[in-house]
């Protein structure tokens, strides 16, 4: 079973990369025959990813959420799956390669550094941990997708302003749709992160009696949460829209990446488990 896990671990980034290539080719050529081919390939990739996660859980006796590289494979899946559903529901084409490349990057990092952990700390066996991690992952997947759509918004915005009517102009959906996709993804991400924070706050004192409110992970996550709260509030209260809103979303995403990086690799946090 371990050899199967290792095989799938190597296979997954390759599958995501080929999915990206098919989506990218379709983006460049816009041929109708690729609509189903690319969807089927992405679906198969996601299916194999599910099998990989299940086999890992069975073999190592814990869900793959106990360290950052295990979490990266779940984020990769969450982003790919969210996009797959989004494409099916909205039938908006042309944004696939920009999302799937993110799934590929997360999976590649996971594949390179993931370890076969048989022993995990007792604190990670809490029943609240699953809900905390899943909602946090949904939150970050939402922020990632929101940032990608925000980035695409800025590129298309600039192209239209500068009279560049090339591939981006012809293939991407219109600015208003990109803005909405970015906003809705951010709102879903924000709600999920809020749930993750609430569960974390409830669980934290019992799991880590000597934690500090100045922990880099807590500060980073709070900063991300505040940024998205400001963005959503400005949309609702001041009716901000367009470029300002997507810039906030991208800033939130960058801060959340930095926060993860700092708390897991540079600073010592109670959140580092390996």
């Amino acid at each position: 079973m371990v050899s199967l896990i290792h095989f799938l671990n190597i296979l997954l980034p390759l599958l995501y990369f080929f999915s990206f290539l098919i989506y990218f080719y379709d983006f460049m050529r816009d041929e109708k025959k690729f609509i189903n081919v690319k969807r089927i390939f992405l679906f198969l990739t996601l299916l194999i990813h599910v099998i990989y996660v299940i086999v890992r859980i069975i073999k190592f006796d814990h869900p793959p959420i106990t360290n950052v590289f295990e979490i990266f494979t779940i984020i990769s899946f969450a982003i790919g799956f969210s996009y797959f559903i989004l494409e099916l529901v909205t039938d908006i084409r042309g944004t696939g390669p920009f999302i799937i490349i993110i799934s590929f990057i997360f999976q590649l990092i996971s594949t390179l550094f993931i370890q076969d952990l048989l022993e995990v700390k007792d604190v990670l066996r809490s029943s609240l941990l699953g809900a905390h991690v899943i909602s946090a992952l949904l939150g970050y997947a939402g922020f990632t997708i929101s940032a990608v759509y925000g980035f695409l918004y800025l590129v298309l915005y600039k192209d239209i302003k500068l009279n560049k009517f090339g591939l981006i102009f012809n293939r991407l959906p219109n600015l208003e749709v990109l803005e909405r996709l970015s906003l809705y993804s951010a709102v879903i991400g924000f709600i999920s992160l809020t749930i993750a924070i609430v569960i974390g706050v409830i669980w934290l004192p019992s799991a880590f009696p000597d934690f500090s409110y100045l922990d880099p992970k807590l500060i980073g996550t709070s900063l991300v949460w505040i940024l998205y709260a400001i963005g959503i509030a400005s949309k609702v209260l001041i009716r901000w829209r367009g470029r300002k809103l997507v810039l906030l979303s991208i800033t939130g995403f960058v801060v959340s990446i930095l926060s993860t990086f700092l708390s897991n690799f540079l600073a010592r946090s109670f959140h580092s488990f390996y």
Partner: protein, 414 residues
């Protein structure tokens, strides 16, 4: 096949001549009537500002292209019209010419297939109906299987295409059209076609604005104070003949303050320009003039041109399919088709009911049913073989038999 066609089009004649020979609906009726009485068994007349075309199956073998040109020159006796402005087609070339027209590759604006609407007019009989059905099928395939009609190829439509790249649902947007001339009218109509939520017209001459608004069901805004209302509009299209700038950067800047970062699209399709080009520097303002819209038009035309080989392939396929059908309209293929159809019905029924007969009777069943079919078909077969008529009458007769017994449809189903 003796289809004959005469064409005066954008490749053969200058615009003034094309306009001069343009036939109104009444004139088309008159030409069609005359063609039916004097020249053709079946025929069709098409006329747009870019082409006038007459297609027909000659009533006699003496008919020449000159007679057909006469149909046009009788209605439009123009001094400057001469043979050099006409193109003549016969047989396969005439069918192909029609397919080229309907699929849009022979249009002045490549991919323009407005000619579809004209196809209904004429006195279409058995053969022409099939030709035009095939032509329409070719046109539909060209649209659905290629990009020959994709994208905007006029400046006013390119403006709408660009607007659609900024806003999602135009039914929730408001637009202001400044000017009431021809360009403004076309732009306003395009917006109406896209179900714009609110459409307002403003013009220096109020009556002209009212007249245009009445045509397209829009409201009118007083020109003297329209600048105070700019912030109410998501889209502003300006197409006046004013000599100078109508909307300054400051006008747009102050209206954007009231819009709280809500995007505004400014389409300046006037010459000279109505809107200060510096407005493009304002955040969330999308300013475009004729030059930038022409970029879209040229790109779309290039895409359409690149699709021509694909359309030509479709045309060849449909020509092949049409001639396969046409060649089947002979005695031998018709008799063969008729026998195959009866035999397949016989075989199907025998197979369904074979178990109701004893084993020793089954062979007899085969023999008896085959004998019945042979007897039914004996007389029609003999009559069909006797038919020595060639040309239109023979073709029409075989066509009727094939249609009556559904020989072609049975083949297609299989």
């Amino acid at each position: 096949m003796n289809l004959i066609a005469v064409s005066i089009n954008h490749r053969t004649a200058p615009v003034d001549l094309r306009e001069a020979v343009f036939l109104s609906e009444d004139e088309i009726r008159a030409v069609t009537k005359k063609a039916k009485e004097e020249l053709f068994k079946e025929g069709l007349v098409l006329s747009t500002c870019n082409r006038t075309e007459i297609f027909g199956i000659p009533a006699n073998s003496e008919l020449s292209h000159l007679n057909i040109k006469g149909l046009i020159t009788d209605v439009k006796p123009l001094k400057q019209i001469s043979d050099e402005y006409f193109e003549n087609f016969i047989s396969r070339d005439a069918v192909k010419h029609l397919f080229n027209i309907v699929s849009g590759i022979d249009s002045m604006l490549i991919g323009d297939n407005q000619i579809f609407k004209q196809i209904k007019m004429g006195f279409v009989g058995f053969l022409m109906k099939r030709i035009f059905d095939s032509a329409i099928k070719t046109g539909k395939r060209a649209i659905s299987e290629t990009k020959i009609s994709d994208g905007a190829v006029t400046v006013s439509y390119a403006a709408v295409q660009l607007i659609e790249k900024i806003f999602f649902n135009l039914s929730k947007k408001s637009a202001l059209v400044i000017g009431a001339g021809e360009t403004s009218e076309i732009a306003a109509k395009h917006l109406n076609d896209k179900n714009i939520g609110k459409l307002t017209i403003t013009n220096r001459t109020f009556e002209k604005a009212e007249k245009l608004a009445g045509k397209i069901n829009a409201s009118v805004l007083n020109f003297s104070d329209f600048k105070n209302s700019l912030h109410n509009y998501d889209i502003i299209i300006s197409a006046t003949s004013a000599p100078g700038i109508l909307l300054s950067k400051e006008d747009i800047k102050s209206s954007m303050k009231k819009r709280i970062s809500k995007p505004m699209v400014l389409m300046d399709i006037a010459l000279p320009r109505d809107v200060d080009p510096e407005t493009k520097k304002i955040e969330s303002v999308f300013y475009h003039d004729i030059d930038s819209l022409k970029i879209i038009v040229e790109q779309n035309l290039a895409i359409r041109k690149a699709e021509i080989p694909k359309v030509e392939k479709i045309i060849e396929e449909e020509l092949y399919s049409f001639y396969e059908w046409y060649n089947s309209l002979q005695a031998a293929p018709t008799i063969k088709g008729l026998r195959e159809m009866f035999e397949s019905i016989r075989a199907e029924e025998v197979e369904k009911n074979i178990n109701k007969f004893s084993v020793e009777d089954r062979e007899k069943l085969e023999i008896v049913t085959k004998r019945i079919i042979n007897k039914i078909l004996h007389h029609p077969t003999a009559e069909l073989k006797k038919t020595d008529e060639t040309g239109y009458s023979g073709v029409a007769r075989f066509g009727i038999i094939r249609s009556l017994f559904g020989i072609d449809s049975t083949k297609e189903e299989k």
